[in-house]
């Protein structure tokens, strides 16, 4: 018997159709409704459930009442279990978080949620990486890699995961875009957290006749490579991300997944450092900077690691910047270059060109960086 949890954010996506970017906040939601926006998140959620109907008899679907999941499930022919303690109308982000925690307690194999980045953040706050999740894209701001490419693809991936035809999990970034700035045309993205999603084996490194190692193994291999070549004369600034975290784990050091840490002679000398603290450090010591692309578009600077300001980067110098990434990450870029957006256009220009990314132990990939 498979067990799936379903949470639908009924208001996600309402802003986009009427020219608003997102529906955060009551005021924006009211404005959207007044502009005639209709909720179509539920419809997309239903599209995701359709592929699962072939295992209907073997599937226990647990969801929230009303338009947070119950209606969509019933419309697809499911007989869902409804969890208690959630409102059935006029639901808020608190309900999303509560529902996620309840579903976690109920021991679901997988949590399907329909919404946007905001919903993803709520799920993260509630359950972190304790459950595998798949996002059904419905909102306007779909920046996070936790979302499948389409609602039906979300359903298909869920089916493959439940049937164990796909079983590897990886952690993907959940981004937080400054809504206000976004509405004014400025993209300011912060790395908010990580969620665990199933991903298809074919998109990871391996050979034709051998079995492919997982993301985790490659990250360990990259960490091994970095540590092997660590120079005791340098300060190492470790950027956010799971790939960089692997280095800290290999050295048995504590670290901040979302923040920037500093290491010297293989010991921690600072955690979750601010721009000011970083500047202080790099002005004193010569430093190397280890970073990994954050978010789905392949930004190495400018999304999720803004503490690395142009001044910090300039002090470190281009030749001391080490970029690491699993091959999986590179493939997900689909041939598009890595991007930089430091806020300083001339620095962006300097940083662009070809870089050698560490993609495995004793292996580098040459890739383009653009601004």
């Amino acid at each position: 018997m498979y067990k799936i949890g379903l949470i639908v954010n009924p208001i996600a996506g309402m802003g986009g159709r009427v020219g608003l970017k997102g529906t955060d906040g009551r005021k924006i939601l009211q404005k959207a409704k007044s502009l005639g926006a209709i909720s179509f998140s539920p419809k997309r959620a239903s599209a995701a459930l359709k592929p699962l109907s072939i295992i209907q008899d073997n599937l226990k679907l647990i969801t929230c009442p009303g338009d947070m999941g119950e209606n969509e499930a019933i419309s697809c022919g499911f007989v869902p279990d409804i969890i208690n303690g959630i409102k059935s109308k006029e639901t808020t982000f608190a309900d999303t978080q509560k529902a996620a925690r309840i579903l976690q307690d109920r021991g679901v194999d997988l949590l399907l949620f329909a919404g946007g980045d905001g919903t993803a953040r709520d799920i993260y706050v509630a359950i972190g990486t304790t459950l595998p999740v798949i996002g059904i894209p419905t909102g306007v701001k779909i920046h996070s890699a936790v979302f499948a490419s389409s609602p039906s693809r979300a359903g298909e991936l869920s089916l493959l995961y439940l049937q164990k035809k796909v079983h590897k999990l990886r952690e993907v970034e959940v981004m937080d875009i400054d809504e206000q700035a976004f509405r004014n045309g400025i993209v300011k993205a912060r790395l908010f957290g990580y969620l665990k999603i199933p991903y298809e084996r074919r998109y990871i490194q391996g050979g034709k006749l051998g079995s492919s190692p997982s993301e985790e193994i490659i990250q360990k291999a990259i960490a091994e490579d970095i540590i092997e070549s660590m120079d005791n004369d340098f300060l190492y600034i470790i950027g956010p991300g799971t790939t960089t975290r692997a280095i800290m784990q290999r050295l048995s050091l504590s670290c901040t997944l979302l923040g920037i840490d500093a290491v010297y002679k293989k010991e921690v000398i600072g955690l979750d450092l601010s721009e000011r603290e970083l500047l202080k450090l790099v002005n004193k010591e010569k430093a190397k900077l280890i970073i990994t692309p954050i978010g789905g578009q392949g930004y190495i600077f400018g999304r999720g690691n803004q503490q690395l300001s142009p001044q910090v980067i300039r002090k470190v110098k281009r030749e001391n910047i080490i970029i690491i990434a699993t091959y999986n990450k590179i493939v997900s870029l689909k041939g598009s270059p890595l991007l930089v957006d430091t806020g300083d256009l001339s620095l962006d220009r300097e940083l662009s060109g070809y870089v050698q990314i560490v993609t495995n132990y004793h292996e580098r990939t040459v890739y383009r960086v653009k601004f």
Partner: protein
């Protein structure tokens, strides 16, 4: 002629595992008895073995009679789709071409099969002559100066090349300095994996927008640390890198060597060679381009060719000819050799088949092989690109040599059917289909290589099969999702294969974990 689709069904014997056919005491062959006199003289033999080394329990092999053994394996053979049976153009990069049956007569002749490698050379002049002459043929085909016939496959050839590169730089005292090998993402994965065994660091180059390895990227990474460039050309996309000679120059200018992976040589015979592109090392797959059958995955051969400056490092022995005495001989007197990469001298039956194949075609014939391989590929390319939902990797780059990597990305977006669904459905039409090496840079890939062995009608039939499958993708997707329908077995449940507690690589392991049919113990 409109191509009619055949109503194929795979052979379906539902054959038990051979152990289930066991009948204690049955014999499939009787072993020659030892002469009574010998037993009288030396006893039972077993007593001479130290007690701790004697086998206590009989091996738990199945016991069957001869007809039953034969029947069992022949049934399994019927459930295997050999190249001889199908329009095997879906196994791209494998170069599934016709293996002439006359070669089997040569390879299984007693004059080959009953030869021991350490026989006095006067008794093996025939095979030594074949080996020597094969080397001469490949010298001309590649333009290079000396060959080793030793490696047992393509990846093995790459490994041998890595060893030669290492030896070359060691002889110049540069082996520590030159520790990097450059390759490309669309070269064969072993171009990266094999040199790692030798201790090299690998640098991988990505293609540019035109689908060729990015030459600007190469310029950025070549340095005095570069030992070599190892590159497959054309790559698995089927694109020929027209700047290959510039690539070689850039690497040579920095003091590095250039190794040409010729796994995809079928479209180049007599058209262009490693020599003209100025490469120092190369290898050929004799079980691909040179017709030796694939044997379910070997035996194979990956002979390695080098320029004169690297010849002294080749594995021992090489085969040489003593003109004065008209004798072929094995030359072990090579003090700079890397030693050996393979037992004995190479995979002789495979080498013999390649020799016979080349001798049956000659220079014009080899050229025709490649001409037609290219013609067939471009013909099918045109037809496949007319199918709905198909696109070509790097579509702006119009030309391909002997194979093409395609993508079903559009079809997947429109129908939800992916390349693996199509793969399972194509088995219902009696043919193979291969996607791509991993990682899948090209989404929803498939790779088609119609070597010169297929007729126009064959190719039309394959296109019609895919056309039918495309139609079903748009109109009856469930048929694909549930495929295959006409195979030897139904949908395989892979669940048990990922869990150490559940997997079984041998029957004895299976019996330890399960009763009956997958009933956990």
């Amino acid at each position: 002629m409109k191509t009619k689709l055949r109503n194929y069904h795979a052979v379906c014997w539902d054959e038990p595992i051979i152990y289930e056919l066991n009948r204690n005491g049955e014999r499939a062959i009787l072993v020659p008895e030892v002469d009574k006199k010998i037993t009288e003289t030396v006893g039972d033999g077993i007593s001479s073995i130290p007690k701790s080394m004697r086998r206590k329990n009989a091996p738990q092999l199945p016991a069957l009679s001869q007809p039953q053994v034969l029947r069992h394996f022949l049934r399994l053979s019927q459930e295997t789709l050999g190249m001889d049976f199908n329009i095997d153009i879906g196994q791209g990069t494998c170069t599934m071409k016709y293996s002439p049956k006359i070669h089997e007569q040569f390879a299984s002749s007693e004059k080959v099969a009953e030869m021991h490698p350490y026989q006095d050379e006067s008794t093996s002049q025939g095979l030594l002559e074949i080996m020597y002459k094969t080397e001469q043929l490949f010298k001309e085909i590649s333009g290079l100066d000396r060959f080793s016939l030793h490696p047992g496959g393509g990846s093995h050839g790459i490994y041998a090349i890595s060893s030669l590169i290492y030896a070359y730089f060691k002889s110049r005292g540069e082996e520590d300095k030159r520790d990097e090998i450059i390759t490309t993402i669309f070269s064969h994965p072993s171009d990266a994996a094999a040199p790692k065994v030798q201790g090299y660091k690998i640098i991988i180059i990505y293609p540019d927008d035109n689908g060729c390895p990015d030459i600007e990227a190469l310029k950025k990474v070549v340095s005095e640390r570069t030992a070599a460039l190892l590159i497959t050309n054309p790559e698995d996309t089927g694109i020929y890198n027209s700047k290959i000679a510039e690539f070689a120059k850039i690497v040579h200018d920095s003091g590095g060597l250039c190794g040409y992976d010729q796994a995809n040589a079928n479209g180049l015979l007599g058209i262009t060679r490693a020599k003209e592109a100025n490469f120092d090392l190369t290898f050929f797959n004799l079980h691909k381009t040179f017709s030796s059958p694939h044997g379910c995955g070997g035996p194979a051969s990956g002979i390695v060719g080098v320029t004169n400056k690297l010849a002294k490092f080749l594995p021992v022995p090489v085969v040489d000819y003593d003109k004065k005495n008209n004798k072929y001989f094995l030359d072990y007197d090579r003090p700079d050799s890397i030693g050996k990469v393979k037992d004995f001298y190479g995979v002789i039956p495979v080498i013999l088949r390649a020799y016979a194949w080349i001798m049956s075609l000659g220079a014009e014939g080899l050229r025709e092989v490649s001409n037609v391989a290219i013609l067939n590929n471009n013909y099918i390319m045109k037809k496949l690109l007319e199918l709905r939902g198909v696109s070509m990797a790097f579509p702006e780059h119009k030309h391909r040599i002997e194979q093409v990597r395609y993508s079903w990305e559009k079809l997947t977006k429109e129908t939800g059917i992916d390349t693996e669904d199509i793969q399972r459905r194509i088995f219902d039409f009696g043919t193979h289909y291969w996607t791509s090496h991993e990682p899948w840079l090209i989404p929803q890939p498939f790779t088609i290589e119609p070597s010169e062995s297929y007729s126009k009608d064959d190719i039309d039939e394959f296109v019609a099969i895919l056309g039918q499958i495309v139609k079903e993708a748009y109109e009856e997707p469930k048929k694909l999702k549930d495929a295959p329908h006409k195979s030897s077995v139904h949908h395989i449940d892979h669940d048990v294969l990922d869990d150490p507690a559940k997997w079984a690589i041998t029957w004895r392991a299976y019996k330890k974990k399960y009763n009956g049919y997958f009933q956990r113990k």
